[in-house]
Symmetry: C2
Subunit: 367 residues, 2 copies
């Protein structure tokens, strides 16, 4: 492919790949819509009615930029978590915050550690700043904290990534294990602890908030349990000195007025959150039952999706995935062995899961 | 201030300043709301009713991520401008796109040229990647294309920034002058042509679209005439080879579902655009008349704001600004001499401008 000679050397060397192809692109290629959207771990149960009302109420005010300090949302989050507002920065989803974090910490050649098959957007942002990635394997479908810490020490890593609960496998580690990992990291190494799925996890998986702990930055989002993926609001919690550094390079007007209003309303609707958590728990059980009924093995999940072991290698799972996609069911699968023996199915409404069950049965009958 | 030793050298050396303080922060400090919001060149006349309807219609679907390829909006913009969709990339406002552009092109030490007193967010993003900024003075309240081209040649600049129409002065250059500037740039130098205010400019100020022209990238936004500042949608138009490079580092899910839906509806509402243009033209005349009535000098404007020469130096203009702010009128002013002899007032509704006129009269009586 032709290249623009003006690009930086770093950008010139980057692959032209993107972390994810959207379902809309697949729909355009297929020429029709999916009948169940279960591939992106969105909250199919929708946003809080209070968030919808907040969006409608703010729609006419959309000519105004959002508050660049996201004051009201930041203070509400501080109260919610029992921490100081100075320990929180709000950004354009966890994706946006990971990009800013990589730029804050990682110079070309700096060592960074993640897991082989973990969230690809983290690796995407680290490569974009020239970080030297070391990827350690999963162990028993969990990210492996001992291997992460060992690789961090061996390489003198500046930054380590761990999602807990994990995506794409849905498994989780205990708060105690996370704490042990943090303490095993080398000096001046930061753990980026991606807690996008924390709202679905058992209480024991989420460490207590400690904004005096310099070795961890925690990432949360309104895109999952809160059902606001289409508005782009995430936040990071860390030691205020690190959080303050985001001010030096972030896009200050990047979180819009509607996004701030909707997130604030969603945060306050604890009843809706409980409703979604209940629906997700039921849907996880149903997905597991659907898988078992056709002889496949669901993995235990602490998230709003279930990884299903298709009982073979990556080719087998890919064939199942293709069968589902061709039958109108949008799902995804992990990218690397041995995780890629699985497909990943988002918690859906009963009708979504009916269609998934039918398509899975038909696919397996054909294979 | 204490610093985090893990930050990159580049970030450690950046100042802790931000390009703009939002009006909300000033309101919190004052303890009350502004009665006229005329400082951020927002479209006080509001968004298209069709955009509002699109936001309301999409509110319940906000659990879905936006299409990362922004296919529908991109294709609609291509048809609107009579260019190919591959020449357009959509991002989180012009601010977001300028940040990505700086990262694509500028390595530490690379020469970049802008004007002294031009849009500070461009300089902010260039400094964040370590670019070596040269700032040339305005000439007669216009950005000076000859000086920009000369500085670009002298420094071997990779990137030159020009806003046409200009912010903060509101003046504009002709399309022919822009074309002459492009041709005077050194090889492998790119002009970032910020056309945020193009919808308010006389036709002769906007060059024809030429996506085969490798030396310019044009930046447009839905935050100004379209009244969607609170949703963050901008776009860049350039040679497809350069536009494709954005895929390597951009935040693919950064433009949300509501933003895409609202922008698409706004683009189609040409009647509303004509309405806003008419209101802005009337408001500019009114602001000029208000200024002249109290002995100040309005500058001619090709934008949705008017720079008013307060007849002295920066201290004089700052005193006028403070008087207006203390009376509940949110306005801003340019940051450097000689531009800072002016205040900058956004086109407002009749009631906004009544309050502005009263506050201006009272302020001048006091000074």
């Amino acid at each position: 492919m032709a290249r623009d000679p003006r690009l930086t050397r770093l950008v010139s060397d980057l692959p032209a790949t993107v972390p994810f192809v959207g379902p809309e692109a697949q729909e355009r290629e297929r020429g029709k819509r999916f009948t169940a959207r279960l591939g992106a771990n969105e909250s199919v149960f929708g946003p809080s009615p209070r968030a919808v009302a907040a969006i409608e109420a703010a729609a006419r005010d959309v000519w105004m930029y959002g508050d660049p300090e996201t004051h009201d949302l930041r203070h509400a989050l501080a109260a919610h978590h029992g921490i100081e507002p100075e320990a929180i920065v709000i950004g354009e989803g966890i994706d946006g915050l990971l990009g800013t974090l990589a730029r804050l910490l990682v110079e070309p050649g700096d060592p960074v550690v993640t897991s082989l098959g973990a969230y690809p957007t983290f690796a995407y942002h680290v490569r974009a700043v020239g970080g030297a990635l070391t990827c350690v394997p999963y162990r028993d479908d969990h990210e492996d904290p001992d291997a992460l810490a060992a690789a961090a020490r061996e390489n003198g890593a500046k930054l380590v990534y761990l999602a807990n609960p994990d995506n794409p496998m849905g498994t989780c580690l205990s708060a105690g294990t996370i704490q042990t990992l943090i303490e095993a990291l080398p000096d001046d190494c930061l753990l980026a602890l991606d807690e996008a799925y924390a709202d679905f996890a058992p209480a024991g998986a989420v460490p207590l908030m400690d904004t005096g702990e310099a070795r961890v930055i925690r990432l949360r989002t309104f895109s999952k349990a809160h059902g606001l993926a289409g508005l782009r609001v995430g936040y990071a919690i860390g030691e205020p000195i690190l959080i303050r550094a985001f001010e030096r390079i972030r896009n200050h007007f990047g979180v819009g007025r509607l996004a701030q209003a909707a997130a604030l309303a969603a945060l306050k609707d604890t009843e809706w959150m409980a409703h979604v958590q209940g629906e997700v728990a039921q849907a996880r059980d149903r997905i597991a039952a659907i898988a078992e009924a056709v002889g496949l093995t669901p993995l235990p999940s602490a998230t709003n999706f279930v990884a299903i072991d298709c009982g073979g290698d990556g080719d087998r799972a890919r064939a199942v995935l293709e069968g589902l996609l061709s039958r109108g069911i949008f799902v995804r699968m992990p990218g690397v062995p041995p995780l890629d023996r699985c497909i990943r199915v988002t918690a859906g409404r009963p009708g979504d899961l009916d269609r998934f069950a039918d398509a899975l049965t038909a696919t397996l009958a054909e294979l």
